[in-house]
Subunit: 388 residues, 2 copies
């Protein structure tokens, strides 16, 4: 059921290996002070930092440094970014990096002119910004989160052991994003693979809800098939530009609200994965892969029809002479084979989780509805244990 | 090959059977004079006209009447619309109808402040607007053209026997569009079916170019499959709201530039169909269906690999023990069966074309490259003859 919804997504995307030059077109639209947001310094080693600084200077901008964004941006870093933006009257937040940098930039963008504590307002009370929003632009160096064309921003509070994502309204979306598949090639393979699984799981979380087959289900399957095909090429040859292009483009459309239309969405793999992430600080995509199969095996009986479709349409499982349970099961086995082939984490113990964290991860998991079954805490504990 | 491109599509869409109420949110953003554009008066019979007039009055707008937009809007009507807009200082062009009304509104929008002849500038010389563009909003009553979320506008010049589409830049896209599937139910079945084929052909025109399989190919297949499934439901029961919803939503995404990324595009079915349309004034979708199969049979050998994929992925043709030619041929046969099932025109003679028009239609066909074969005039003549 497509139902009632609105859609607007005004982010301007520049895609391809010549896309950085369009920064010259975008920068003149904003004031003089550009807060340059980046992570641990890989963009300095790759030379991208220097290229961007040159363009900023060519455009007469004042550069406000804001490096050191960590893979799971924290509340402490958020408060620091807000202070920097206030002190320097930042007119544009230019995030250079992966989803963490983009998410962080959006979280800063709604907090600079906010007179309440942003963690409390946006992440604990899930309120919308009522203040002016500082514009955000992104230069993406990792494909995965879709943050470059959506209004989501995940922030981790270590003190409270909470990692929470808020999907804001359309005004919080980046004004522009530069997507150069070549930048994603400088990433270690493990990061590439984590990103690929993140993309795939974003699609699954939206796909595995509802029993009808509306246009969004078909589009979701299309994106999954494109990601599966390109990922198998990319793990063999990470320098395959075309494969990296398709992964990057699919990532953007996997989580920019299009395939969510008419779907309630599940998001429990993200909820459990994020809880595990708050404990282990492991890479986001790997926390998702580690809990996925136990989760899907658990909910399969409640959404059997969709798991059958998933097996047939996405994994080409032949239905001949098989029960629905068999078909659906073979679909998950095919998915497992693919996960192993690309090399994602198959268990939480591989990424730093220990048995004594089971209770804590269970407790920290936010329970959402929207999927085929609203889980109890006991069921989550069972899934977390099976994921160890 | 995805290649280099930019993407921005900022049209705000309101979808669903409650979507008209959002006109109250949109209207206050524009000045007082609203040019109300519509067709032959079906919206007066359905009551939609009165509903819209009430909202316009509630919002304190001056209504500038501009009805009588014909199925293939003409240059004469365009000049009239421009005069109306100039005389009444229209601040918003509100199109209520199908693709013709939306196309017409966009053509007017770039012509009101243009001091050259818009037909010459935009349709013969394919120039971009350099003047102020009057904003456009759409309330869609027919699914098909995708005009509600793109910058295309097809205009027919009867004197010159030319029907030409110009795809403008992103600034010409509607600011908002209201998509209520229920409005499409008041259409005669023939119009619904013509719209469905128009959607399907938009996807084909983009799909049948290139030999790789990038993300756009997967998305195109997804939209085709959704349209095929929903069309079969809708021809049985035109009141099936869910089927009409999926058709309407797929139509929007079939031609809003997304699935064109990385594709050169063919568009020759549209070129031949539009030439036939200029001679017969037949419904756009029916001119496309009438020439499609002769065209695709003709180019199949030049893009065989893609026609094989089309057969297997879209029509579930089993490849076992068959040559590529057989598989591809069976795909076109399956497409033909579907076309007959939904009831589109299979020949130009069904929609008013006569043998003596063959030369003229051939002559009026604009030859584009981008597909698997750049046609000669002789080949076009052959295809037109086979379509009779």
């Amino acid at each position: 059921m497509l139902g009632n919804f609105s859609y607007k997504n005004a982010t301007k995307l520049y895609f391809g290996d010549d896309s950085l030059k369009y920064l010259y077109e975008e920068l003149p639209k904003y004031g003089p002070n550009v807060q340059l947001i980046y992570g641990g310094g890989s963009i300095k080693r790759s030379g991208l930092y220097d290229e961007i600084v040159k363009i900023l200077k060519d455009c007469g901008k004042n550069i406000v440094e804001d490096g050191g964004v960590m893979p799971n941006p924290t509340t402490d870093k958020l408060y620091e970014g807000v202070r920097i933006a206030r002190d320097h009257h930042s007119d544009l937040l230019l995030a250079v990096g992966g989803g963490s940098c983009c998410d962080y930039a959006k979280a800063v963008s709604v907090s600079v002119h906010c007179d309440e504590d942003p963690w409390d307002k946006y992440y604990l009370r899930f309120e919308e910004p009522t203040c002016e929003i500082v514009p955000v632009g992104c230069i993406l160096t990792m494909a995965g989160t879709g943050s470059e064309m959506n209004a989501g921003a995940v922030i981790t509070n270590h003190e409270q052991k909470l990692k929470i994502g808020h999907v804001f309204g359309e005004d919080v979306m980046p004004k522009f994003s530069i997507l150069n598949p070549r930048y994603t090639m400088t990433l270690p393979k493990k990061q590439m693979v984590a990103g690929i699984y993140d993309i795939f799981n974003h699609i699954c979380e939206q796909y595995f809800s509802g029993e009808d087959d509306n246009t969004s289900d078909y589009l979701a399957e299309a994106l999954m098939k494109s990601v599966i095909k390109s990922s198998l090429t990319a793990v063999e040859d990470p320098e395959d530009y075309e494969a990296r292009s398709n992964i990057m483009w699919a990532a953007t459309w996997a989580l920019n609200t299009l395939i969510a239309k008419g779907k309630s969405g599940d998001w429990m793999v993200h909820m459990i994965g994020q809880a595990a992430g708050a404990y282990t600080d492991a890479t986001h995509g790997m926390t998702l892969s580690a809990v996925s199969l136990p989760y899907y095996r658990h909910i399969m009986p409640y959404g059997l029809k969709k798991f059958v479709r998933f097996a047939e349409e996405v994994w080409n499982v032949s239905p001949d002479g098989k029960s629905d349970e068999q078909i659906a099961g073979e679909g998950l086995e095919a998915m497992k084979d693919w996960m192993k082939k690309i090399g994602v984490a198959m268990r939480l113990s591989e990424i730093g989780a220990t048995e004594d964290m089971i209770d804590g991860i269970t407790e920290a998991t936010i329970i959402l509805d929207g999927g085929y079954k609203v889980l109890t805490k006991d069921e989550i504990k069972q899934i977390v244990r099976e994921s160890m």
